[in-house]
Symmetry: C2
Subunit: 177 residues, 2 copies
């Protein structure tokens, strides 16, 4: 049960958006701008970074929902999601995405872990300023979302299939409240 009184049966962060719409509004706007707004990264690539960071933080709600959104967006390439999250096999990714996931993993640990050589590797693989910015902010923002969801012990449906409808909705409609 959640640590604060939220509406029963509403999972994860949605129960918190309802608890406090004043902060829920900007949080949804942030997710929408970051995961669906203009970016050199595709929506699928951004969902993959979100799921990867959530996986590293052990946040099952965010990991399962964003992994499912990534699967919906990837269509017949959806095997990539499990390869990365379960098998830790990034061979299907471009050199650019590999270097960005490395940066995202460092941000998950601490901002200061990102070194000039990590950035240089990403640039050599074709990443520009916006790729690097968006990767760092997605990883940073899921360091927030994961802590918000788990720090208040919100309802986390178990098993990936509980997230099928949620992931489909996220992939089609994004994050507008």
């Amino acid at each position: 049960m959640a640590y604060i009184q939220v509406e029963e049966g509403i999972p994860g962060i949605r129960s918190l958006f309802q608890f406090n719409p004043e902060t829920g509004g900007p949080l949804c706007d942030l997710a929408q701008a970051l995961l669906r707004g203009p970016s050199p990264l595709s929506a699928a690539e951004r969902e993959l970074i979100a799921a990867y960071v959530s996986h590293r933080n052990g946040c099952m709600f965010c990991m399962n929902s964003h992994a499912m959104a990534a699967r919906c967006l990837l269509g017949d390439q959806q095997h990539i999601v499990d390869e990365i999250l379960i098998e830790q096999n990034t061979s299907a990714l471009s050199a650019k995405m590999k270097s960005l996931l490395l940066i995202a993993g460092k941000v998950q640990v601490n901002g200061k872990s990102v070194k000039a050589e990590d950035i240089e590797m990403a640039r050599n693989a074709g990443a520009g300023d916006a790729d690097i910015h968006d990767t760092v902010l997605i990883a940073a923002s899921f360091s927030m979302f994961n802590r918000y969801v788990d720090g208040l012990n919100t309802l986390t449906p178990s098993g990936r299939w509980a997230y099928e409808e949620m992931g489909k909705r996220m992939s089609e409609k994004g994050y507008q409240l």
Copy 2:
């Protein structure tokens, strides 16, 4: 030098808001709602939680600026800021604030570190749902802001006095862009 091309001489997160106003807008709205909007916690208490989490993450820009904002808001009680951040002495705080700082410190580590007994201790000290919610989200959001600022290696003025004007502005005007 920052890892991406931001305007020279603009410190910390302000350079990133300028680099990407699409995400900067929701991030400012979040800070404003969370640190200045309705809450049972005073603005000074919320700035103190922000500075405390930033200190634990080693983010000098966020720590110095929010510590200075807290000093401005605390007036003749401003010695509390150094007592907490430098001396790790929380004796000037209420039992409620002590228990909320403990929760904030756990959120800084990982959302799952917050246990039912931490929440119970806070409730026994007088904390309600909104105190607990706001504390967890402030700690979670500074886990983001700190990573965003340091992960992109933004300009960090050194020495607390470089933050005097910034802290004064934050305490008086808040976080509207």
